[in-house]
Subunit: 130 residues, 2 copies
Amino acid sequence: MNATSSASADAVLERIRFTDTGLVPAIVQQWDTREVLMMGWMDAEAFRRTMSEGRVTFWSRSRQEYWRKGDTSGHVQYVKGVALDCDGDTLLVTVEQIGAACHTGTRTCFDADVLQPVVGESRELEATDL
Amino acid sequence: MNATSSASADAVLERIRFTDTGLVPAIVQQWDTREVLMMGWMDAEAFRRTMSEGRVTFWSRSRQEYWRKGDTSGHVQYVKGVALDCDGDTLLVTVEQIGAACHTGTRTCFDADVLQPVVGESRELEATDL
């Protein structure tokens, strides 16, 4: 971590509104295709590491440990950009995802359980429905 | 709500892992440009409404009430698709966003506070950096 990025991360930490358990949700998006890959959680230290290492690190709530994406799977997430939302309680991390983002082996964590909502009412929208 | 969508929403509810306070985070994405617009929270009833009304409804944690996006601002979110993630604790809602998604007036809630992380190490990635 260089001095600038360290200072930057620390300044941002003061703006992040962590949950009562000290976490903030991080949406992870592939930078070019803009696929939403997954959502994970970060504590202050996982955020610092993500800001400084060029790799995404989460806090695993189930395992209660840091989890640098790809260290065991090889499915690395290289950091391309990070943004904090308007009320400081959600992060958006854009990445270059190597291989599958999902531990089940699918590209994203949202590929397997696609639901069937009633789509929006606008007739124009229905005509161009995906 | 028709019988099919009602049954579908109820079946899905059994798969959703709500937090201790009965909520699930919902990432909202513009269906065509794939911009990540915002993240909100839904309880079971907000989820049912979102699945059945063609409009996105959240549970407002700050106001402790249902909040159908656009009812006061006009910035409606028409539902295009909904997916549940691999471990059942995050929703991805694709929408047609009318106007600004963010209450501050910006298109997305992630436009205003863009951070400066160290980007991923791969030289190839740096060459194509955004």
